[in-house]
Symmetry: C2
């Protein structure tokens, strides 16, 4: 079944995806109740957010923070927004397809060493399994998009430097395997803006007008500079999480995803419309303060507020 | 006396100026002992830092944090590095010249409203006083450079938006008044990267090869993205403070200056040599932790450390 990428990611428009409900909760001890998560989604949707990663399809016994992933997918779909889910194996993929998420992300690593350590299989086997997931989707008559997130795309905690040409090769192999989308992830925050720009220029050329996802972590403070560099190199789809929720499994204690609200502000001040109401999104942080009181909320914008007395929002084109 | 700008800021090289000892201590209740400040300077100097703002020339009775400004200027000068000082009036300027700082910064605001509120005089009078400071310098046979910092250059907490053409006009008037350097300050962190790029392109053209200073605050998280945008537009001289020390007098509780060590990392990952050893600078944060235990130290890089197993430093040209 032809997957309608263009409907989910209209050409030329920036899409900021809220991944706090999945990546943001991956490692936290406390997590919001389903009611609070639903409120989070509804309020961000009202503020203009249209893409929500709602969870991982994993056994609820071991990952209670994602036990409500199906209910949240239903909620997002019911709002007419786009639900994104993660699966780490075939069972998860079947569950995600059954749940009717708009997009299913499967992960592979840019390096052989990390793929072996993380997924316990060579990258070639991961690519074969991606093709299998695409077949599964097609056999089910599902419209779910298949996205492959390439972890460690800018440097690997095990192997060090990663050749961008190798990421390009893997991305092409993912498309060959039938993936609708590819994502490049600065998983451990090793990337700097020139490097991200180089990688994104390659991805823009490779994808030939199709969108690709840029997943940045702010581990070393480069998140926003990297995001702008990626945009300038042609990237239009960005992951981020409210209050930068989410650490990094390979860098304990480190800052997490790029801060969603700061990314909105960055783009708007740069004249790039996001369609998102910044102050409404900032206000949603109160849910996190209440539900996860021990979690550090990142981002300085929430404290300072947007500038007063001047226009900083991008104007309508 | 011809002031030797080129000796202090070699053409084409990036200069990162440590302003933590002045701007960073402007508003703090606690401040390091002179011995600790000296250690801070010596250790950063050993790490490759060559420009230190050592304090404000203000009455020690009201500003005890700057009582040792002369001793610190002597220390920096004795190391063969460049000492920078701030003065808010003629008395301060005389003291700064007597202390033999490499560079004296005087401040005016981009907007009439803020200049009146902050300095209680119209901008025209400030410009006349700048000319007076230059005469004072020349009459004293001093080699001190005169830098005019233009506050609120990207937006004003009182007047809102600031026309970059107006900043350009003021910068030209400062040069006309005899200033050796001009600085543009995003005092309240209103600037975004496109705006900073626009302003810096204008400044690069105006200055015709002479350096100008970019003074960024990270109040809204844009500090590093703005710094890279400024560099790409031709800026080479940047202010920053260790651990982002320093708030903003017009935005209580807000994040301070752009984080020095993060700026080093940003440039190095972008292939731009700073001449500064990142890990040695990060280690100096311990002085702040010890001497100012209640102060928030900003910057995520210090927690995560630079990437392991890969080259992120700019290579020798």
């Amino acid at each position: 079944m032809a997957a309608d990428v263009e409907r989910v990611y209209p050409a030329g428009q920036v899409a900021l995806r809220e991944v706090g409900l999945r990546d943001g909760l991956q490692l936290t001890k406390a997590f919001p109740s389903t009611a609070a998560k639903s409120d989070w989604i509804r309020r961000e949707h009202a503020a203009g957010v249209r893409h929500f990663e709602v969870g991982s399809f994993l056994p609820a016994s071991r990952f209670p923070q994602f036990a409500d992933v199906r209910a949240l997918a239903d909620l997002v779909n019911g709002l007419g927004a786009h639900s994104l889910g993660l699966a780490l194996n075939e069972r998860g993929a079947r569950d995600a397809l059954a749940a009717g998420v708009t997009e299913l992300t499967v992960v592979m690593s840019a390096t052989e060493a990390h793929n072996m350590a993380n997924a316990r299989r060579p990258r070639e086997q991961s690519l074969a399994e991606i093709a299998g997931t695409v077949r599964l989707r097609d056999d089910a008559g599902s419209a779910t998009l298949i996205n492959v997130g390439i972890a460690m795309a800018t440097g690997c905690s095990l192997s060090g430097a990663v050749d961008p040409a190798e990421v390009e090769r893997l991305a092409a192999a993912c498309l060959e395997a039938g993936a609708d989308l590819v994502g490049i992830a600065d998983t451990v925050g090793y990337g700097g803006p020139r490097q991200i720009a180089d990688l994104c220029r390659r991805m823009t050329a490779l994808m030939g007008g199709r969108p690709y996802v840029v997943h940045l972590h702010d581990t070393r403070g480069m998140g926003l500079a990297n995001a702008l560099a990626a945009y300038d190199a042609g990237a239009r789809v960005f992951d981020a999480s409210l209050a930068g929720l989410g650490g990094c499994p390979f860098a304990p204690g480190a800052t997490g995803n790029v801060v969603f609200e700061d990314l909105v502000y960055l783009f708007e001040t740069a004249g790039i419309r996001t369609g998102i109401d910044l102050e409404e999104v900032i206000a949603v942080r109160e849910i996190l303060s209440r539900e996860m009181p021990d979690e550090t909320l990142h981002g300085t914008l929430a404290q300072a507020g947007p500038p007063k007395g001047m226009t900083w929002q991008a104007r309508a084109a």
